[in-house]
């Protein structure tokens, strides 16, 4: 069971990583990032259960807080770029190149 949980966690993390690397829509990239963070959080909870220590569950609270702040900043950037460019395609976001 322990290994199965770890495999599920790894699968979710890598699916999210594939989404971050592949998609062009900025909002979908943010969502894939959430999925990645959630896969990592599942591993925290799995270890908390199988080691018998509640610290992993406490760490999940910190992960959730960081995820919330990351989403807030990411959405602020998305709105700002949408106002400037009229698009949320990340290939239009390469302003620093020019």
């Amino acid at each position: 069971m322990f290994t199965a949980y770890l495999i599920v966690s790894a699968l979710i993390f890598s699916i999210g990583a594939a989404g971050v690397m592949m998609r062009r829509n900025f909002l979908v990239i943010l969502m894939s990032l959430e999925v990645m963070l959630n896969g990592a959080a599942l591993m925290l909870i799995v270890f908390a259960y199988y080691i018998g220590n509640v610290s992993g569950q406490v760490m999940f609270i910190f992960v959730a807080a960081v995820a919330a702040s990351e989403t807030a900043i990411g959405l602020a950037v998305a709105i700002m770029m949408y106002r400037k460019k009229g698009s949320i395609d990340i290939n239009d976001f390469s302003m620093l190149k020019k």
Binding site: Y5, L6, A10, F60, A64, A67
Partner: protein, 170 residues
């Protein structure tokens, strides 16, 4: 019984994650993401972490998903469903993701931990929430305060970034 529940919940979660990544419409992506989060909350319940499962539903499926959906509602519909879903380098994305998965999977099969304490020490007086609260405020008080400041700074940053007046002043 536990194995069947684990199978159902993990299939739900993985299907949600896959749907988030591959669906053409961004709204559908967000709904698949909520599916993944709820399935994940079920997995947390199975790992005897009910407090964390409720936190998952409230914070992720309740707050973060609704925030993303609200931002989508503010945008043009045609902007969201782009003709090109994937970057040209999607092949390398898949290769690297498979590499990450293989890496963690090998670790999962090789890892040997002492399972004697599995499922113990997770509740005090039969309450998982009380245990989490005690550990949080006894041993992790400083990180808790720091995370509060991080959240505050992030939200102030979001307000500053989206402020129209400061943009016009530039």
């Amino acid at each position: 019984m536990a194995v069947i529940m684990f199978f159902i919940l993990s299939v739900t979660t993985i299907a949600g994650a896959l749907g988030t990544v591959v669906s053409r419409n961004a709204y559908a992506s967000a709904l698949w993401m909520i599916t993944a989060f709820v399935g994940m909350a079920g997995l947390f319940v199975m790992l005897s972490a009910p407090f964390v499962a409720m936190l998952q539903i409230i914070v992720y499926a309740g707050a973060i998903a609704v925030l993303i959906l609200f931002v989508m509602m503010l945008m043009d519909r045609r902007v969201l469903s782009n003709r090109y879903r994937f970057n040209p380098q999607y092949f390398w994305g898949v290769i690297f993701a498979a590499g990450i998965f293989a890496d963690i999977a090998v670790l999962a099969f090789k890892l040997k931990i002492n399972l004697a304490n599995a499922g113990k020490n997770l509740a005090v007086n039969g309450s998982n929430t009380q245990m989490v609260g005690e550990v949080l405020f006894k041993h992790y008080l400083l990180p808790f305060e720091i995370i509060a400041i991080v959240l505050l700074i992030a939200l102030i940053g979001a307000i500053v970034l989206t402020n129209k007046k400061s943009e016009e002043a530039e």
